[in-house]
């Protein structure tokens, strides 16, 4: 009797090539072949995406637009059009969901798909990935690069090396060998600080990182160090989380450069958190029954406070005032302190439905306002507009 060999785990990472630029080129074919920068033109704007033609000149995303234009003055600057990106992104994800039941979106232009056991032949996963690539190209006119490997980490590294418009199928069992010659910065979640420390210790490649002494890693980076080495060996058991299992919470937090004592400032930050959380909830069509506040004093003492509501919340106004009263409550209970970190969270998420009352004119008004703001931001970017924060009226 022979024991059948286990089906090897195959994870694919799909990443659309210069996504925003590609969508803009579909809208305006004259942009094809030109250096294109998607982003605002304001003095503080940054590049959202640079076409490969612009990258040749040293342009890249997250670069200040002024700097990019200095490097490549002939570049064509296109303002972002998030509504189109969203539509294209939905099409992209729909194709992937037909390729695999287990798809996890990690952004408009990126997703993991678990292709384990797909197809009858050993190269079933690769065929499925190729078929998805052909459909994205044929139906949406977009190029997508794919990395296939035994784990998320390696698949992501592989898709990056497959660009542009390619497939990199790391052979089963070959993950560690594939990673070994690569430079440190290719490993996801390896930050510049860690890279610096490793380089100082003479480590240049992922293969060298994989071989490091665990005690040294533990002493230098804590438990994070062990994780780095493990992933450098291609070991990453993190599964692909199906999008069907929706997020269980949405939260935002910020650590201040300098501790903050001003209550108005703290409320302002909570309000900004509420804006973002509210937009997330609205985009994913959910409401929160529970709002949580997280605050950290300069000595790192950390508090969380929560409030649960009979009617689930969603508007920026509701989230922000819930946060403000939790902060008041915390200060009453613990005394006023300078704040190092403040965060707001929405948990206990439920369907986007709420019982309207006879006196909910205000709620409907706030909902409409939020949606109008969301639409404007989708189209023109997050900085397109902000709520007026007249200090008197805001915190009745």
């Amino acid at each position: 009797m022979t024991i059948p060999s286990p089906i090897p785990r195959r994870i694919a990472h799909f990443d659309l090539d210069t996504f925003f630029v590609a969508v803009e080129r579909l809208k305006d074919p004259t942009l094809v072949g030109q250096p294109v920068l998607v982003g605002g033109r304001g003095p503080r704007s940054v590049v959202a995406t640079a076409s490969y033609e612009a990258r040749v000149f040293g342009c890249h995303s997250a670069q200040p637009m002024t700097q990019a234009l200095r490097l490549c003055p002939q570049a064509i600057v296109v303002p972002p059009d998030f509504a189109s990106y969203r539509t294209a992104s939905e099409g992209f994800h729909a194709v992937l969901r037909e390729a695999s039941p287990l798809v996890e979106s990690v952004g408009l232009d990126e997703a993991y798909a678990d292709l384990t056991g797909i197809g009858v032949a050993a190269d079933g996963p690769r065929e499925a990935a190729e078929a998805a690539r052909r459909r994205v190209r044929g139906e949406l006119g977009l190029a997508v690069s794919v990395g296939i490997a035994g784990s998320r980490t390696v698949a992501k590294v592989a898709s990056d090396r497959a660009k542009p418009d390619g497939v990199l199928d790391v052979p089963v069992g070959g993950d560690a060998v594939f990673l070994a010659p690569l430079p440190l910065r290719d490993l996801p979640f390896l930050g510049p600080r860690a890279e610096e420390r490793l380089r100082a210790a003479g480590v240049r490649t992922l293969g060298q990182l994989a071989q490091l002494d665990e005690r040294w890693l533990l002493a230098t980076f804590g438990s994070h160090g062990l994780g780095l080495a493990r992933r450098a060996r291609g070991i990453d058991p993190e599964p692909v989380h199906s999008d069907a299992r929706a997020a269980v919470s949405v939260s935002r937090e910020v650590t201040f450069g300098e501790d903050v004592t001003d209550l108005d400032r703290l409320r302002q930050v909570l309000r900004a958190h509420a804006e973002e959380i509210g937009a997330d909830l609205r985009a994913s069509e959910r409401r929160a029954r529970t709002v949580t506040l997280k605050a950290r004093w300069p000595d790192f003492t950390t508090f969380t406070r929560g409030a649960t509501f009979g009617q689930p919340l969603q508007t920026t106004e509701q989230l922000s005032s819930a946060g403000a009263s939790l902060l008041d409550q915390l200060f009453v209970q613990e005394g006023r302190h300078p704040v190092r970190l403040i965060g707001l969270g929405a948990t206990n998420l439920v369907e986007d439905a709420v019982q309207l009352g006879f006196e909910d004119g205000r709620l409907l008004h706030d909902q409409q306002l939020d949606r109008a703001i969301d639409e404007i931001r989708d189209r023109f970017g997050n900085d397109a507009l902000w709520r007026g924060l007249a200090p008197r009226r805001r915190w009745r």
Binding site: A244, E285, P312, V350, E351, D352, A353, V354, Q355, L356, G357, F358, E359, D360, L364, Q367
Partner: protein, 378 residues
């Protein structure tokens, strides 16, 4: 006190008055029932000393008149379990011990001084109104359930009685729904006035009404602080809720974009089915009304879905006037109103997914029910 009565009658009386006994109270004697024997009858009384008092009179053979209080729960449970036979009660005045015997059972229950029992105020006023018990009960059934159960706005925990010359308009609302019922008074009312009666008291009154053999008289005292409902064998006194009831007329939409007429029975059945699936998702039931075209009837689609569980879809024939409509309601709100409508058909009037819906029994313009929809993603 020495008295004899029938077990079934005492049991019925105790069940009726015990509804006024508060679950918890700082005043221990309010957990007791006052038993007064006099002139061929036993009068049972209970009160929470706050909003409600109920009395109930049963026939008895009174050998010696007297009065005592006994713990309500203990006495009710004991009497309920006794065989259907004659019960004798003897009070030892000094020790305040009551010995009860029935068939071959005997018990002794410690009582308290009847003078300590909170006095139930006499409600006297001009202008008592006589209302036929069945009609009053029907009116109460239509509105009481719509009153608020939380105290955040006390006036909404009551039912508003607008007493006119020829009718009483009863209204209850809880912020999400409004029920208005026009109760005709063939005998008329001597004085026009408005009072707010606690819904809880009216719920208890509704339970007593089926036994009433004569018209109920409703009396409001001169100070407009209390109301008495006298059923003959039983009385209910309630403290009126002070305050201004919201002007609810403005909550009833004057027009609608769509009028959907369906069978009450079918609509209730489909809503119940949908509510099984709606249980997980805040009870959301979605209604889609599609007008029919030449020859074919319109239809009302009743749907519900439970995330990651499944969904339900039911369809009923409807007569639809106006445009296609979509609206979502809490299933409980729909079922509660459909349970009290006595006509065969009901009309649902809607204007938009976020505007109130109006339910009216077809052919009975005494009743209007307004319910706020749920905001949902379609």
């Amino acid at each position: 006190m020495r008295v004899a009565c029938q077990q079934d009658q005492l049991h019925r009386g105790l069940s009726a008055v015990s509804r006024a006994v508060p679950a918890r109270s700082v005043l221990p004697i309010t957990q007791h029932v006052l038993v007064e024997a006099d002139e061929g009858r036993i009068k049972l009384s209970a009160t929470d000393a706050e909003t409600i008092a109920i009395t109930y009179t049963i026939p008895a053979t009174v050998a010696q008149s007297g009065a005592i209080t006994m713990p309500s729960r203990l006495l009710s449970d004991f009497v309920a379990t006794l065989p259907r036979d004659e019960i004798e009660m003897n009070l030892a005045e000094r020790s305040r011990q009551v010995s009860l015997s029935c068939a071959r059972n005997a018990a002794s229950i410690g009582g308290m001084d009847p003078d300590e029992f909170p006095p139930i105020p006499p409600v006297e006023g001009s202008g008592a109104i006589a209302i036929e018990a069945d009609r009053l009960r029907q009116a109460l059934d239509h509105v009481v359930f719509a009153a608020a159960t939380d105290d955040s706005r006390p006036v909404l925990t009551g039912v508003h009685f607008a007493i006119g010359a020829a009718s009483i308009r009863l209204a209850a609302a809880d912020g999400f729904r409004l029920a208005v019922y026009e109760l005709e008074l063939p005998a008329g009312a001597p004085q026009e006035r408005e009072v707010i009666v606690p819904a809880r008291a009216l719920g208890e009154l509704a339970r007593l009404l089926p036994e009433a053999e004569q018209p109920v008289t409703m009396t409001v005292n001169a100070a407009q602080t209390q109301v008495l409902f006298d059923l003959g064998h039983a009385t209910l006194v309630a403290n009126l809720i002070q305050g201004t009831f919201p002007n609810y007329q403005q909550l009833i939409p004057a027009s609608s974009a769509t009028r959907t007429e369906v069978s009450v029975g079918e609509f209730r059945q489909e809503t119940r089915l949908a509510s099984v699936f709606a249980r997980d998702g805040s009870g959301i039931v979605r209604l889609t009304a599609t007008p029919g075209d030449a020859g074919s009837p319109g239809r009302l689609l009743v749907t519900a879905r439970a995330e990651e569980v499944g969904n339900n879809e039911g369809e009923i024939d409807a007569i639809i006037a106006g445009e296609e409509a979509k609206i979502a309601f809490n299933s409980r709100y729909l079922i509660e109103v459909l349970n009290v409508i006595t006509t065969d058909r009901v009309a649902i009037e809607t204007s938009s997914p976020s505007a109130p819906g109006v339910l009216r029994p077809v052919g009975d313009d005494r009743y209007v029910h307004v319910v706020m929809p749920m905001f949902v993603q379609w």
